[in-house]
C-alpha cells in the first residue's frame, strides 16, 4: 500500500499514460481530452448558433466516459490514496513564487491566490480563472489538440503539426510564467 499512497514518480506516470493511450486505440477509440469541450458545446445546443457544433456527439461517448473516469479518479485518489497534499517542490521554485506573491507554494496542490473560494468570488480572481479557461479552450481547438492529442499522440506519431503546436504551447507557457504571472499578484 505504501507504493500507492506515495506520490508517483515520473517513470511510473509516463508509462501509465502511454498504456491508457494504447488501450483507447486498441478498443478503436482516440485519445484526446480537449475535443470533449466541443462535445459539451454540442450537447448544450451550440449547433443552433454555429454550424461547427452540429455534430453527432453520441459518437464521442467514449471520450465523455474518459472524462467521467478522470473525475472519479481524482475523487478516489484524493479521498483515499493521498495521505498528504504536499508537493515536494524545488526550494528555488518556492522562493521564486514567494517573490511574485504566491505564498506557501507546495503546501497543497494549488495556490490559494488563484483557486481558493474567496479568490474565485473576487472580480479579479474570477476573471483570471475564466480567461485562463477561454485561452485553453480556444487555443486547443485552433491548434487542433491539447497536451494529450498533440504532445502525446501527435509527437508519438511523429507529426510536424504537433511539433509546431507543442513549440507554441511552450512559447505561450514561458511568456505566461516568466513575463505575465509576475505582474498578476
Amino acid at each position: 500500500m505504501d507504493f500507492i499512497s506515495q506520490p508517483w514518480a515520473w517513470y511510473v506516470a509516463g508509462p501509465i499514460i502511454a498504456f491508457i493511450m494504447f488501450l483507447l486505440y486498441f478498443f478503436g477509440e482516440r485519445f484526446g481530452v480537449s475535443s470533449n469541450l466541443e462535445t459539451f458545446c454540442s450537447i448544450g445546443g451550440a449547433g443552433k448558433f454555429v454550424d461547427y457544433f452540429k455534430i453527432d456527439w453520441k459518437q464521442n461517448s467514449w471520450n465523455l466516459i474518459f472524462v467521467a473516469g478522470a473525475i472519479a479518479g481524482g475523487f478516489i485518489a484524493s479521498q483515499w490514496l493521498s495521505p498528504s497534499d504536499v508537493v515536494a517542490l524545488n526550494p528555488q521554485t518556492v522562493q521564486d513564487l514567494a517573490d511574485i506573491g504566491i505564498q506557501n507554494a507546495g503546501s497543497t496542490y494549488l495556490p490559494d491566490e488563484i483557486f481558493s473560494i474567496d479568490t474565485m468570488l473576487t472580480f479579479k480572481g474570477f476573471f483570471i480563472l475564466l480567461i485562463a479557461g477561454i485561452m485553453v479552450g480556444f487555443g486547443a481547438r485552433w491548434a487542433g489538440g491539447c497536451t494529450s492529442g498533440h504532445a502525446i499522440v501527435g509527437l508519438s506519431n511523429l507529426e510536424l503539426p504537433s511539433l509546431i503546436s507543442v513549440i507554441g504551447f511552450f512559447i505561450g507557457g514561458l511568456v505566461m510564467t516568466w513575463l505575465i504571472l509576475p505582474l498578476l499578484f
Binding site: 508509462p15 493511450m21 466541443e38 508537493v87 507554494a105 487555443g139 511523429l158 503539426p161
Partner: protein
Amino acid sequence: MSKAEIISWYRIYEMFKFQSFHMYGIIGSAIMIGMVSMLLFRKKVVKTFEGQEIHVTPKKKGLYRNLLGGILFGLGWALAGACPGPMFVLVGKGVVSILVVIFGATLGTFFYGALKDKLPH
C-alpha cells in the same frame, strides 16, 4: 494524474521554470512508449480487439493554426496550471473554482467555433 501531481498548478509552473525534471520525464516517457505503440499500429502488428487496423487520424496542417493556437493554449495552460485532462481530475478532487476554468474552456471552444472562418489557419 492526481497521484503523480500532474494536476498540481505548481508542477506546471516548475516545468516552465525548468526547475524540475518531473513533468518532462512523464511526458517524455509517455511519448517514447507512445512511439513504439504507434509503430506497432502502423506496421499492423497490433490491431483493435475486433481485428481492425488502427489508423491514427493525422493532425491538421497549417502553421498559423498550430503556432498561434498553440501559443494561446500555452498561455492558458501556464495560468490555469492545468490542461483539459487535469481540469476534470481536479473536479473529482473537489476544487470548486476549477469549474470556472472549465466553463471558460467550453466558452473558448464556442468562440473558436463561432470565429473559425475569420481566423488564419
